[in-house]
Symmetry: C3
Subunit: 271 residues, 3 copies
């Protein structure tokens, strides 16, 4: 499912991807945590996608089938939800729907780390998105996770991300002040966004949801992940210019996602 | 429970209903989906009602008893929640509390369609509110549901809505760009609202919650449904004038719900 | 765990506490209700703390261990969640992490009252925060709870609060238009805040979450509770000056929490 990434990604490639999301409005099936369900759904709608949240084991396989992508997020995991995630992930692999895995809090407790690793191994995702602590934990490296926040820089997780990318044939996004998009053989760094993004719960989870929307319309998961992260960080940067604090930032973030233009991508700082 | 609807509904009737909600502040018991719980509660509070969310089978019957209405929403259904909805619905019928049923995603998976039909048949609601796809699915008609969004016009579901209204002695609301309020023998169309309402998750679910608030204070469910939908679509229209996108729209929608005046009903376009 | 409260609390003590929360950014472990999870997390982030929501019985004890405080809230209780709360509370007592208990809706149904009393008795919290109805219900007094809203004034619950404070060696916060912070031998009244706080779902729950953040950095639970309630009510008062209704109020509340200054405490009306 994971094609070789293009060797160069242009601003046009990224902007084209956002236009595809808006034109095709892909259905994104989320099995995600309670805290961010509303915000993730609103982020997907703002970006032009169509969200559905469904976790009952009786319906997840059928829901995946009508969806363009599956987003799994273990933020408020529990056993029955984990089982639904496994069933949904297997159905997604069978039907060739791209999976995005967000290992929220991996490293904070063994239950989280094991659940995330189990999903990763059993049904490798097209895109794995986490913060540096979570990615380090999945690579069995000692990071410092505190709850669901990372205390280490994204750069510290780049090599672990590459190992995971190689082992699981996946694209790994390490998000933080600088976002790293990492495949087996290359790294793209995005230097946009704003510190207010870390003051609103669920911006990371929303980035994972966006990765799902973009992966539903773009077969190259490296490009899809880059376009999703670029879109989120540009919207964050523009929103911060209008915000008076984290409350108004979250509101403006949704507005900016909905109104982001091709010309907005000129602000991207990537290498 | 479903009285014959009045043959004519005036703007004053609708505005009177909103004032009753504000004056009586009815307790509305919601068993609803995770995505919209917060927004539904805030919509009810903004309109002047008092929300309570409770789903434990141990307490739903008692909660219904102290509430003025029960709102059931299958957006993130699972077996144990469905069982609580059944218990609560039976208690509501026994105590003559009006029920509002929102069959979110009926038609998307058999589990959803069956769950909604089962609730509809076992404890017919005073008001059934869905989008056109959902209503068609409950009438066993082929609509096109994609996840939780409708891809068909409300008008296409009017006849199915009437059949459901006759079979289950209920009032059916088919919401969309034009809202249809349908009983066994009449239809009211509301042509207000704004396209931004479809860009915020849970506006439909919030309309169902409002139907509950209005049904708690108004014994005629046709009038209650009309007043709830009129209130929501007016607030949506006013909010859109102040919004820069879906984020600020959701905020303004709550503000407008709280400040909507009698004179605001003059904007209503109904037939 | 509950030290004797200082006999006098100055504005500087309260402002110092907020600065400690911002400086230490304590991890606050919440097992709370679905309706307010997102808002509580955003309130904690805005105040400078670091929220984590985790309810799986497999991990709550470990999560408590890395957290600075545990916040239990029974707003959307169900049996399995109650069991996780019990396990987490025992672990918190063992590890000497302060517990905050929010008995949402106690008095509305026996299931709620019993669950809250059981938690209170089995693992007494450092801080118990509720509205007057809930506190009266826990004291086995006849209040008037309607759903999750109180219909009685905070002052009516002061004596019951003191009895509970004595019995369980806890600090009791009775919130309302006037907030009472009550220990075995003293009462502090805070007369700030704004009526819009009651028009947004979860402001009470968010106060409990803030009590957790402050108790994580301040060993005197009376002072911690006072500082948390002062911070929330000041932010509410400042937010109301900028709000056009409950939607914009909730947004401004988060902004004000993040920007509240030492000088802002001069507005406090306490006795």
């Amino acid at each position: 499912m994971c094609k070789s990434p293009r060797m160069t990604i242009s601003l046009d490639d990224l902007a084209d991807n956002l236009e595809k999301v808006r034109a095709e409005s892909p259905l994104v099936h989320n099995i995600t945590n309670y805290v961010v369900m509303n915000f993730s759904a609103n982020v997907l709608l703002a970006a032009g996608a169509s969200p559905v949240m469904a976790h009952a084991v009786e319906e997840v396989a059928e829901m995946v089938e009508i969806a363009g992508a599956l987003v799994l997020n273990i933020g408020t995991l529990e056993r029955s939800w984990n089982e639904s995630m496994r069933v949904a992930a297997k159905a997604a692999r069978l039907r060739e729907r791209p999976i995005v895995l967000d290992p929220v809090g991996a490293g904070a407790t063994p239950f989280r780390t094991h659940t995330a690793l189990n999903l990763l191994e059993e049904s490798p995702p097209a895109i794995l998105r986490g913060n540096a602590s979570e990615i380090l934990a999945l690579g069995n490296k000692v990071g410092q996770t505190r709850g669901v926040d990372s205390l280490v820089e994204s750069s510290a997780a780049e090599e672990t991300a590459r190992e995971l990318a190689r082992t699981f044939h996946t694209v790994v996004v390490v998000s933080g002040p600088v976002d790293y998009i990492v495949s087996a053989d290359r790294t793209l760094r995005l230097r946009n966004g704003h510190s207010l993004m870390a003051r609103v719960t669920g911006t990371g989870c929303a980035c994972s949801a966006l990765c799902g929307a973009f992966a539903a319309v773009e077969p190259d998961p490296f490009l899809a992940a880059a376009a999703a992260m670029a879109t989120a960080s540009l919207a964050g940067e523009l929103a911060a210019e209008k915000a008076s604090g984290p409350g108004s930032f979250a509101v403006a973030f949704l507005d900016e996602l909905a109104s982001l233009k091709r010309t907005g991508f000129a602000r991207l700082r990537m290498d």
